[in-house]
Amino acid sequence: MDIEAHHVTKRFNGFVALDDVSLAIRRGELVALLGPSGSGKTTLLRIIAGLEFATSGRILFGGEDASPRGVRERRVGFVFQHYALFRHMTVRENVSFGLRVRPRRARPRPAAIAEKVEELLGLVQMEHLAERYPSQLSGGQRQRVALARALAIEPRILLLDEPFGALDAKVRKELRRWLRRLHDDMGLTSVFVTHDQEEALELADRVVVMDQGRIEQEGPPADVYDRPASPFVYEFLGNVNKVRCVVGEDGNVAVWTGEPGLGGLGVGARTETGDLATAYIRPHDIEIFAGPVRVGQPAQVRHVCAAGPTVRVELAIGDELIEAELSRARHQELDIRLGRTVYIRPRHPRVFAPGEPGAGAEATEAGTAGPSPAAGRDSSAAFG
């Protein structure tokens, strides 16, 4: 079932939680609403569910206006952040709840309910724990019960509020994969809210990045990651180095060296030669060389973290800290050690000039304040 949000605005006592948000979700899609706390992502999800009502704007289900209907009539499966299981009911009673509360005419016979519940418990691999109470289950098991309970009413849409937020890393990964399979097998349209960019990028067909009640960018994970539309998205999705730079001729920027050799200026309509700007460079887009190269900048190795699939290196250019990421092989080849001087060169820097929408305060600040220790700290603060 397609879901559409049309110019949805939500105000709570003067606070604007959603500011004219429009979003179309196609049938069968798995969409992530990603953003920091207070970005309005949960509010949007709750408005789609009918748990909250928009101050203005409409929600359409399959082209039909769902706005006047409350959560009872919308038949959406909602999985709450902290599961919201009925703790005085067993797993079985929890899962069958949605069927047992149906009006008598629409209620399946007890045998049919039992069969359906058994099927759902099998689906979430909880048959052996059917008589347990929620307090006797682990977090991951509770999450699966909550999901089975939501699926019992055969929803057309599955909405999940921070579904893996309260789980430890290993369980989270497992459940993620499992949810993806479930979504595909059942042909649901699913929307989940998360503040974990890794989760959103790995799981979703489409990522909707939100900030301050607005949609900053939406698109397939790879698009959003590779071509962030604003500094906010850049910083929110993955680690990034923020580097002060000067706009050179032809719109090229000079990062560090003063030599304008780097392409890839993000258009910036109002930039002029000589303008100060901020370049955004992913850690894996910093090339490291053992000796001097063209447009290379000498930097000192401050810290090396070689645990994990890639090696992370913290480098210092003066008081500016840069984080770089490289493969283990390349790391061994270069023999990077603490205190050594290496030469670095940025690939694909993206520049947001002060005039560009969303480029915002930090670029302006860098432009006016010039080189300062604060700006140096700033670039390291971008690592999440």
Binding site: F80, Q81, H82, F86, H88, F97, V101, S135, R149, I153
Partner: protein, 287 residues
Amino acid sequence: MITSILTAPRSLGLRQESVLPGFGLTLGLSVTYLSLVVLIPLASILISASGMSWSEFAAAVASPRALAAYRLSLGAAFLAALVNAVFGLLIAWVLVRYDFPGKRLVDGIVDLPFALPTAVAGIALATLYATNGWVGGLLAPLGVKVAFTQMGVVVALVFEGLPFVVRTVQPVLEDLDRTVEEAAASLGAGRAQTFAKVIFPPLIPAALAGFALAFARGLGEYGSVVFIAGNLPMKSEIVPLLIIIQLEQYDYRGATALAAVMLLASFVLLLLINVAQRWSHRRYAQS
């Protein structure tokens, strides 16, 4: 000497390795205090009652007048606790779930029966419910008489027992996760179903505890009841009053025998309610 005191609990197997010191000392003080204040006085009742012969005892505790008093005391206390369980739940609900002007005042008024001297409550209720009182005057034409009847006893006990249910249910209701109601609604449950199946069951243990406290209070209540009950032998005479009357007639043994019966009855009833409460806690308050 000192070491022997410190090691003594360990030799009894009671010593717990803990960062909180003073287990032995505080437990000792607690037991001493409970003995002095509660257990020894209660035991003395049983001891002095045991000085009677069986026939004496039976005559004292099974007289028709005494039987009528038991019936009234137990029945009125039970009825009053039941009324309070229902309305206490309602008041707790209103106080927790809604915001309205004067909410704190209402919240304070709930405690008034705790604080008010029982005699004051008794006089106020008696005046109000007498056939020429404000409420009694309205009820009289309908043929309902409250003051100086058994109903009067119930009214007084309802007044005294009100805070117990409210104050036991209130914190549980406050702690109840509101998202479970949203979950119930998202699964298609109506308001009534949500209340009956989702909200009410977790409140049962607290409501039962409040009921038990109100009931116990009702059994022992004296001050407010004697003013409104009229105290007619065989009709509106409660057990505590009967005990007083026998004391005034210097029938100490009869009074002690009645006291022993009340003690036993209270004990058994509280035990039963506790068992029920434990069961309901296991059943409904999985946390």
